[in-house]
Each structure stands twice: as structure tokens, then as C-alpha cells.
């Protein structure tokens, strides 16, 4: 374990940072690295790549990781007290409910086989879409699958519909160009948003407030660079992920990237709380949370905004 | 008719090859009873394996009824020096094995197996597994198994080596009796010169390094061979002749 690496030595603080290897998860780290933002704030970062959020939170709580990145599907973990959100990152725009050609309306999903990767944003959008169409979870044949399997299952016609996201959707489209998109994130913009976020351990936040602030400063500056130099950010991320730049570019187009100023504003006017509250409602509905806690207990808005003035 | 023509057999060993048989010629007529004697390691078992079709000669050829031996067949029954019983089968099932492969019906199989089990004195152990048998009992089971398929050629590698003297005499008598009744061909390897002479039409004497035939002694004694015959001067003369053929060779040690 590297649990005791994060002590100050010679003015620099060591930080272990977890991420997921897609544009949302990796772009800020790629930018910060390129722009030497870590050095600037006296932080020696060590990045660790993961494939999902919950495992990062496990690692954070085991003391092996200081910060991590989670997608919308894992927001209930901080909400249930396992970690704290130190910064929001982007709003997912990539999720879709898709159906085979011929199905034109959400209501037609009744009785159909619908593939869904459980606990992901695909799951969320499907649930919201069904709700909107007045269908209950039992009205469809819900078929839980992992994301990669949905691609092949949908492409080969094994399922009638699915809750899934870009860039995976691109692969399905290659095989089924005439598939139908029945629902997308924007349809629910007024009630639920799909934020991705950076998290830290509960102890780090109380015990190492200084480090948290420095990290948030790095993130803020990286956000602003990303907002100002979109293409450069894509290029840097593609380099980090060893992926072709156009694949990353397509991926980047599926989310609304946030910058520090906007976020400061949203934090101040309660928009962020509204997003998180909306997520919380969803999770309560999905029985992942017993009740919907006040976002201020797990979103450190003041730390985020406070980092600006330092 | 068994014909062995200039058969050589070598085995690969570390750093070269070992000549187990260096040119063996032998004709065995139908219905003949041939015994093979020779010092330990002279290639007796190797000859038998070639006749059984379990080894191929390195050069030369072995024929049965003018046809080259290409593999084992139920026409040639074999009793192995190490018994080779199927450890997962009872005595009865072992004896029935060959009958099953020959497609003999259940009742006849039972009956024939029982006959040979009785013959070798294992009736009380018919349902015992090999691991519960004594050495001599295992050997007798192997004998019964080979007899049961009633092969026209019987290849026997020291078949009576592990049984006591009286049982041995009985088994010898039984063997001669069925041989003379059913006129099969028998090739019988033994270390016992007395036994070799007592049973055989001809005694093949082998020598080692390389394995070869040094002498073939015709035994022109009448059948049936009796206990009195063992004491006759003719028998003793033949016995001594075989003995000196075997041991006037270089000592093997």
C-alpha cells in the first residue's frame, strides 16, 4: 500500500489520485500534468487508473488513495457517507434509451426486452424514461448486462432496447444505423442532471484540509484551461489514454464540461444542490439510499469556491 | 506357423542404443510347444513382446501364418511376467475381460470364466480385487485370464514363477493336457531348466549381449509326460544338455 506516501517532504505534498480512462475522468489530469499545475501548487501526484468508481472509494477508505473520480451512477456513495465530493467535473449528456427500428415510442417498450447495465447512468436514464412514459419497472423485461455485452446483444438483435451511452453507442450505430433514440439526458434536464465528480476520503477532508484545497486549486485551473482550449485538452487526454484523438473527441462531445466560474455560480445559487438533490431522489427511488441527505453534508461547495480566492 | 526372420531389436538409451536382440531366427510349427530359457536379461521377454505385437522389430520381421505381425490380436494370448491385471476389476471380471471383447454372451462368459477360475484354484477369491491377492494368486489370475479366451497361440512369460511347487506341477499338467487336447501353439519362457525340458517339444536356449539363440534342443520324449519321466535317464541327459547350453556361455554378471 501507499497509504503513508502522502506526507509533506521538502515542501511538496504527495497525493494519490484515482481516475477512469475516459475523457470525463482523465481530461483534467492530462491538462494538469501538461500545464505543470501540480508542481505549481507543490503537489507530487501519482495517478492510478481504475475502471469504476466504487472500487476507488474502497481504495480511498482503505487509505491507498486520496482522491478519486466517479460517474453519476456512483454519486449515491458519497451521499451515503462513504466519501466527500470536492469538485464537480461535468454533466453527462451521453446517455440514451435506444430501441430497435420500429419502436418509436417509450410506451412501446412495454413487454420488451430491455438491456441495462445496472447501477450506471444507463440504468438511470432508463428508469427516468420509463417513469416519464408511465411505465413501471415490471412492465418491461429488464435484462441486466454489462455495457460491452449490451453492444453486442443490441447489435445482434438479442434485445429490443437498452439504456446505454456514447461512445459505446457509436459502435452500435455502426451495426444498426437506423436505431431509434427514445430518450436522452436533456429530456430530464429540469429534474435530474448527471454530474461526474471528484471525491476525497472523509478523513482527508477533515485532517488535510490544506492538501484538499491545493488539489481543488489544480482542478479549477485545469477546468479553466480545458474550457478555453477544448481541442488541446482532447489531444492531451488522447495522449494519456493512448486512444485515437477522434475517439476521444467524440467522447468529449457527449458531456457538458464545467468551468470553475460556472461552478462557483451554481454552487452559490443552489443549482448544484438541486442536481444532487435530484440524484438523491432517484437513488431513493431505486432503493440505493434509505433517504435523501442534504447535499451540503457530502458536497464541499465552500471548499471548492474557497479555493478560488487563495 | 510362427516365423522369426533375422529380428534385431534395439532400444534407445542415453548415449546410444542398446542391442536387446541381435539377429534372431526361429520357426515354430503349429501345435508346437516351445520353451525358451536363457540368463536374466537375454531378451526372452523382448522376443515374446514382438510375437505378441507389442513391440516392432528394429529390423527383420516376425510372421504368424505368413502374415507380418502388425499388432496384438486375440489369436495370441499373453501371460505377462508382471501379471498386468486390471486393478479395478475383480478376479472374475479380469478373466471375463477377453470374453467380453470377443462378444461372448453373458451366461457363457460367466461359465467359461468360472471354469478357468476353478482351474487355477481361485474359486474362493472370484470376487476379490487384485490388491487383496497374494503374489501367487495374482499370477494364477493372469493365467486364467489368458486361458479363457482360448487363443490358438499362447505366449507365456515365466507364468508359474510365483506359485508354490505343488501348484506349479498341477498347472504344468493342466497346461500339457489342454495343449494336447486342443493342439494350440505354446511359447513358454521359464528359468527352470527342468520345467523347460518337461514341457517342450523343443527348448530354445538364448544368450545375452546381444540377445540371440545359441542352441535349440529337441526333446523327443513321448507325451503324456509323467512324474516317472522326470527321473528317467533320457530326461536327465536332455536336462543336462540344456543346462550346459545355457551356462557354458560367459557368465552374465
Amino acid at each position: 500500500g501507499s497509504s503513508d506516501d502522502n506526507e509533506s517532504s521538502g515542501g511538496t505534498t504527495k497525493v494519490n489520485f484515482g481516475y477512469i480512462a475516459d475523457f470525463n475522468g482523465a481530461s483534467l489530469l492530462a491538462v494538469a500534468d501538461d500545464q505543470k499545475l501540480w508542481e505549481k501548487h507543490g503537489i507530487e501526484v501519482s495517478t492510478k487508473v481504475f475502471t469504476n468508481g466504487p472500487l476507488q472509494i474502497t481504495a480511498i477508505n482503505a487509505g491507498d488513495l486520496d482522491f478519486g473520480y466517479i460517474g453519476p451512477g456512483a454519486v449515491w456513495l458519497p451521499a451515503s457517507g462513504k466519501a466527500k465530493i470536492v469538485a464537480l467535473n461535468s454533466l453527462g449528456n451521453a446517455d440514451r434509451v435506444i430501441a430497435q427500428p420500429g419502436i418509436t415510442d417509450l410506451a412501446q417498450l412495454k413487454g420488451k426486452k430491455v438491456g441495462v447495465p445496472e447501477g450506471t447512468s444507463g440504468d438511470m436514464i432508463l428508469t427516468l424514461a420509463l417513469e416519464k412514459a408511465g411505465l413501471s419497472a415490471t412492465d418491461i423485461q429488464r435484462v441486466p448486462m454489462d455495457p460491452a455485452t449490451i453492444v453486442s446483444a443490441f447489435a445482434s438483435g438479442q434485445i429490443d432496447a437498452a439504456g446505454i451511452w456514447y461512445p459505446l453507442l457509436n459502435n452500435i450505430k455502426q451495426k444498426k444505423p437506423d436505431l431509434v433514440e427514445l430518450a436522452k439526458n436533456e429530456d430530464f434536464a429540469d429534474s435530474v442532471s448527471f454530474p461526474t465528480a471528484f471525491v476525497a476520503g472523509n478523513e482527508a477532508v477533515s485532517g488535510k484540509a490544506d492538501t484538499v484545497t491545493k488539489v481543488v486549486q489544480v482542478l479549477r485551473e485545469a477546468m479553466d484551461f480545458r474550457a478555453a482550449n477544448h481541442d488541446k485538452a482532447v489531444e492531451l487526454t488522447a495522449g494519456l489514454l493512448k486512444q485515437p484523438a477522434d475517439a476521444v473527441k467524440a467522447d468529449a462531445a457527449n458531456s457538458k464540461m464545467l468551468d470553475s466560474k460556472t461552478l462557483d455560480g451554481y454552487t452559490a445559487d443552489g443549482t448544484v444542490d438541486k442536481w444532487l438533490k435530484g440524484m438523491g431522489d432517484y437513488f431513493v427511488g431505486a432503493k440505493k439510499l434509505p433517504d435523501n441527505p442534504d447535499p451540503s453534508t457530502y458536497y464541499l461547495g465552500s471548499v471548492f469556491t474557497g479555493a478560488a480566492s487563495k | 506357423m510362427i516365423t522369426i526372420q533375422n529380428v534385431r531389436k534395439t532400444f534407445p538409451i542415453k548415449g546410444g542404443e542398446f542391442v536387446a536382440l541381435g539377429g534372431v531366427d526361429l520357426d515354430i510349427a503349429d501345435n508346437e510347444f516351445v520353451t525358451v530359457v536363457g540368463p536374466s536379461g537375454c531378451g526372452k521377454t523382448t522376443v515374446m513382446n514382438i510375437l505378441a505385437g507389442l513391440e516392432t522389430p528394429t529390423s527383420g520381421q516376425a510372421l504368424v501364418r505368413e502374415k507380418e505381425i502388425t499388432g496384438p490380436g486375440p489369436d495370441r494370448g499373453v501371460i505377462f511376467q508382471q501379471y498386468a491385471l486390471f486393478p479395478w476389476l475383480t478376479v472374475r471380471k479380469n478373466v471375463e475381460f477377453g470374453l467380453r471383447t470377443a462378444g461372448v454372451g453373458r451366461d457363457e462368459r460367466r461359465e467359461r470364466a468360472q471354469h478357468f477360475i476353478d482351474l487355477v484354484g481361485l474359486h474362493d477369491f472370484a470376487d476379490a480385487l487384485p490388491r487383496t491377492l497374494s503374489g501367487g494368486m495374482k499370477q494364477r489370475c493372469a493365467i486364467a485370464r489368458a486361458y479363457a479366451v482360448n487363443p490358438s497361440i499362447l505366449l507365456m512369460d515365466e507364468p508359474f514363477g510365483a506359485v508354490d511347487a505343488l501348484t506349479r506341477v498341477r498347472l504344468q499338467e493342466q497346461l500339457l493336457q489342454t495343449w494336447s487336447q486342443e493342439k494350440r501353439t505354446v511359447v513358454f519362457i521359464t528359468h527352470d531348466v527342468d520345467e523347460a525340458v518337461f514341457l517342450a517339444n523343443r527348448v530354445v536356449v538364448m544368450a545375452a549381449r546381444p540377445g540371440r539363440i545359441v542352441e535349440i534342443v529337441d526333446v523327443d520324449l513321448p507325451y503324456p509326460r509323467t512324474e516317472e519321466l522326470r527321473l528317467s535317464p533320457a530326461f536327465t541327459a536332455l536336462r543336462n544338455r540344456v543346462w550346459s547350453a545355457v551356462y557354458h556361455q560367459e557368465p552374465i554378471a
Partner: protein
């Protein structure tokens, strides 16, 4: 009953003089002790602040899952899949292992693929299985089948290669052809190897269950564990793990019992 007792003596024998040591504590008592110890360690871990649920919590959750019938349904669904996949895998592995051990051509043709697929994680097979076999029971059973087949085929192959040549020779001089030799010599002689394959294959089958139930499962222990993992519901995961462990253990016992009956001809420790 007596047969089992006798066999137990044969297989659990400790170094002679066996009669002497055998009079000690019976093995099942050591088993029990070991389980108690293990649960103790677990409880200890859960108390010392590790992020794992304590036994009572798991017990409670187990009680709930039993009470509402979920556990029974899951167990039935999973057991059916594992049994089907495992039985098919073993049934195919034995003849294929024989072919590979017996015929050079079969070995040359099959070996690269058997070796190749053995190293491929089941997770990577799943998308392909879905494309080829849909999302019903077939692909799930297929993935489990593959796991047990691959473990078992190697063991059978090795068993066939290791069969005492003299026994094969004995069968051949008794007129047996390849088919008979396979069924009546090679299979019994390599039973110990096949059994290793079956036991390891059984383990793999259960271990693959979770992967298999990624494919559109509505119920099953693996499915339950996955969805519990998403919800960070550790007690349910532990109930699933323990159920799988116990079921695997029971099936393994059945196998061992079968083996003892099949191989009590062996003289062994």
C-alpha cells in the same frame, strides 16, 4: 454405510501404524474447529475496523433473504446453471481428453485451442457468447461449461498419457480395440486424474457463475452479488459468497464420495 466407512479408512490413512493414529480426533471435528476458527478470524477483522460486515449482520441478512424466498430462488437458478454447465463440460472433456491423449492428430488439432481458451478470462467470452447464443440460459451455461471443460480436459489428457502402458497392452492382447480400451481401461485407470479435473472444474464453474450471470440473469447467486456490489451491500455479498462456498463444498463432497466408490480398487494412502 459400511462401504463408506471402509473407504474413509483407506483414503484418510495417516502414516502407519495406521490403527494407532486413526484412533485420534475424527476429521470432521477438525473441520468444525477450522470453520469456527475461520469465522473467528473474520469476526475479528470486522471488529478491528476493516470494512467488512460482522457475522451476525450477515446472518441477519441471510435470514431475511431466506425468509422472502430470494435465497432459495437464487440458489435453485444458480445450481441449475452450474450443474448443467459442469456436467456438460465434464461429459465432453473426458472423450476429448482421451482423443488428445490417444491420437496424435487430434492432439495436434485441438491442443492449441484448448490451451488458448484456457487463458482467456470468461468475461471476455461473454459478448461473443451473447452474439452467438442470445441472452437466454444457453450462453450462461456455455460460459460455465467452458470453465469446467477446460480444467477437466487437461486433467483427462494428462491421465490418459499417464495410463500404465502394460495395462493397455494387456487389454490389446485380449482383443480390445481403441473404443473398448478407452471405456474399460483408460477411463478407470485415469479416474484419479479425471477426478482432479472434475474437482478443479467444479471450483471454476462456481467461480465463473458470477461472470455467467452478468448475461441477463434475472436471479441467481452471482446476479444477486453483482447487484449487491453496485449497492455496496456487503452483507448480501457475503451471503452470496457463503452460499456459493457451501454449495461448492457440498458438491465437492458428492464428487469425493463418488470417487471413493470408483477407485477403492486402488492401494493407496
Amino acid at each position: 454405510m459400511t462401504v463408506v466407512q471402509v473407504d474413509t479408512e483407506v483414503t484418510t490413512g495417516s502414516p502407519p501404524p495406521p490403527e494407532r493414529r486413526r484412533r485420534g480426533v475424527p476429521k470432521s471435528l477438525w473441520n468444525a474447529l477450522s470453520v469456527v476458527l475461520g469465522v473467528g478470524v473474520w469476526w475479528g477483522f470486522s471488529l478491528t475496523g476493516f470494512d467488512i460486515p460482522a457475522p451476525p449482520e450477515v446472518l441477519k441478512r441471510g435470514g431475511e433473504l431466506i425468509a422472502d424466498g430470494t435465497l432459495a430462488d437464487d440458489v435453485l437458478a444458480s445450481l441449475g446453471r452450474v450443474l448443467a454447465g459442469f456436467v456438460l463440460g465434464v461429459a465432453l472433456a473426458i472423450p476429448v481428453g482421451f482423443l488428445m491423449g490417444w491420437y496424435g492428430v487430434a492432439r495436434g488439432l485441438l491442443e492449441p485451442w484448448v490451451q488458448f481458451f484456457r487463458t482467456i478470462p470468461p468475461l471476455a467470452i461473454i459478448p461473443l457468447a451473447v452474439v452467438l447464443m442470445g441472452i437466454g440460459e444457453t450462453p450462461k451455461i456455455f460460459v460455465i461449461f467452458l470453465a469446467s471443460f477446460l480444467a477437466c480436459v487437461i486433467a483427462t489428457f494428462q491421465g490418459v498419457v499417464n495410463v500404465d502402458k502394460t495395462l493397455i497392452n494387456a487389454a490389446r492382447v485380449l482383443g480390445a480395440k481403441d473404443g473398448t480400451i478407452f471405456a474399460r481401461v483408460v477411463v478407470p485407470a485415469s479416474t484419479p486424474f479425471i477426478l482432479v479435473g472434475m474437482r478443479v472444474g467444479l471450483g471454476s464453474s462456481w467461480a465463473t457463475l458470477v461472470a455467467a450471470e452478468l448475461i441477463a440473469a434475472q436471479q441467481g447467486l452471482g446476479y444477486r452479488m453483482q447487484s449487491a456490489q453496485l449497492y455496496y451491500d456487503l452483507p448480501t455479498i457475503f451471503v452470496g459468497l457463503i452460499s456459493i462456498g457451501v454449495l461448492g463444498l457440498l458438491m465437492d463432497r458428492v464428487l469425493l464420495l463418488a470417487e471413493r466408490r470408483l477407485t477403492n480398487w486402488q492401494e493407496r494412502r
